[in-house]
Amino acid sequence: MTMTQGTQQITADIAANVWQVLVTEGATVSAGDTLVILESMKMEIPVEAEEGGTVTKLAVKEGDVLDEGALIAEIG
């Protein structure tokens, strides 16, 4: 997860499938809110917002296969 000029880029820590997407583009989120739930090797891994803001970009949909480091969402 990296921050650039006030924009929070949420990336995948591990190679995984996108199991559930819990937010939509334009949604307002608070720090700690779960954005998506990844699934890898029979384990569910929730991905949370580090800080609150607006979801300016949602780069994944349910069923997507992500490599480690792939962009999940941007929060501004």
Binding site: N17, K42, E68
Partner: protein
């Protein structure tokens, strides 16, 4: 039985194929498209691709597996563990197709596969169970009132759960309300059954299980125990036999209880009776936890200590034959420890799939490696993280530990994340070296 379809993948498919090859039985592997390059596919006599990576469309799809059995002319089906292994409907369909099912009777799978009916069957057979509920709970308010009788802390368990999934600890009512909702939603989605069981939680216990073999003639024999207390997220990482620090009287009663339970439910084939041993050494007692109606991941530790091929016994029992050796002549000898080499980071134990660029296994006296992968193959996120099992044997625990240290030092894996460094750490951990560890070990190690 001249041909066997192995309805599984990875290390266990390879391991079953190895025994079948030795016995001159033709083997048929089934595999998903992403698994085409794995060793088990190559080592089988025939292979049938049955679908894409998603287990629901390949390894867990009974229609596709049965179609592959028809197409390949298989005469028997070995389910391994996971996937369809504890699916009674699948076992019935295998038999209805005129094939040999290498496992217990489907009715027994059904009875013992559900944690509540299994627990009730154990209690009926006079085996101690933890304080808990005897019928599935479907609403949180009845769970809260049941909890008053069971007592906190307690375990919230999915009745249909397995493999350490679908369970959570609740220390008080607030936690119970939260976990009840989470576990039942998870269970409905994962297992298609939201029913919940509450059971007293023993925080500092030993997970000890008994390997049983239900013989064709009807007798059930216990082949010792395995201690599986090194766990993360209620899933086992290390197993050993015999269990250190187990009161001899408790061991004796537990083995007898497992045999009695097996005979009470008419168990045939290999199975495992899992128990929790609580209390300090010298004042221990045990309760029944659950039963696994299949071959277990950690079966090799029992094979090394008892000098017996469990898959061979499974194949014999499935054909109503006596075991390959006289059970009365079997004696345990020495000590065996298994380490589950997973594609996960060694600190947080989070998944780390990837392509394997280097893979070198240790070899030598007292060392066995059951691997599902090799250099040039890929660990995908679609399946569980087990890549291989390193199993060491010694005349005693000390020798097994020293062989484990040497073996770990010469195991090389590059590409995916892996937990070999964790095992290095564990082998220096005083509680593990002394054998006094409980299921709380990993939490304690990571809290430091």
């Amino acid at each position: 039985m001249d041909s066997l379809l192995v309805a599984n993948r990875g290390e266990i498919a390879r391991r079953v194929i190895r025994t079948a090859n030795r016995l001159g039985i033709r083997t048929i592997a089934v595999h998903s498209d992403v698994d085409a390059g794995l060793p088990f596919v190559r080592e089988a006599d025939d292979a049938v691709e049955i679908g894409p990576a998603a287990p629901a469309e390949s390894y867990r799809d009974a229609d596709r597996v049965l179609a592959a059995a028809r197409k390949s002319g298989a005469r028997a089906v070995h389910p391994g563990y996971g996937f369809l292994s504890e699916n009674a409907a699948f076992a019935r369909r295998v038999r209805a197709a005129g094939l040999v099912w290498v496992g217990p009777d489907p009715d027994v799978i059904e009875l013992m596969g559900n944690k509540i009916t299994a627990r009730n069957a154990a209690a009926a057979a006079g085996i101690p169970v933890a304080p808990g509920t005897t019928a599935p709970l479907s609403d949180v308010d009845s769970a809260v009132s049941a909890a008053a009788r069971v007592g906190y802390p307690l375990m919230v368990k999915a009745a249909a759960g397995g493999g350490g999934m679908g369970m959570a600890v609740a220390a008080d009512e607030a936690a119970l309300r939260k976990q009840f909702a989470a576990v039942s939603a998870f269970a409905a989605r994962m297992f298609g059954d939201a029913g919940i069981l509450l059971e007293r939680f023993y925080p500092d216990a030993r997970h000890v299980e008994v390997q049983i073999l239900g013989l064709a003639e009807g007798r059930v024999i216990a082949l010792g125990e395995r201690n599986c207390s090194v766990q993360r997220r209620n899933q086992k990482l290390v197993e050993e036999s015999p269990s250190p620090w187990l009161d001899p009287g408790v061991r004796e009663r537990m083995l007898a209880a497992a045999e009695r339970l097996g005979e009470a439910v008419g168990y045939r084939n290999a199975g495992t009776v899992e128990c929790l041993v609580h209390g300090a050494p010298g004042a221990q007692d045990f309760v029944f936890l659950e039963m696994n109606t299949r071959l277990q991941v950690e079966h090799p530790v029992t094979e090394l200590v008892w000098g017996l091929d469990l898959v061979e016994q499974q194949l014999l029992i499935a054909r109503h034959r006596p075991p390959s050796v006289d059970p009365a002549a079997l004696r345990p000898r020495g000590h065996a420890i298994e380490f589950r080499v997973n594609a996960e980071d060694p600190v947080r134990f989070l998944p780390g799939p990837g392509a394997i660029t280097q893979w070198r296994e240790p070899a030598g006296e007292g060392i066995r490696v059951d691997a599902g992968y090799a250099a040039g193959t890929k660990v995908t996120p679609a399946y569980d993280s087990l890549m291989a099992k390193l199993v060491v044997y010694g005349e005693n625990r000390e020798q097994a530990l020293s062989r484990a240290r040497a073996a770990l030092g010469s195991f090389t894996i590059s590409g995916p994340k892996h937990n070999l460094p964790f095992f290095g750490e564990l082998l220096e951990e005083p509680e593990f070296v002394a054998g006094t560890y409980t299921t709380a070990l990993l939490t304690r190690m990571r809290a430091r």
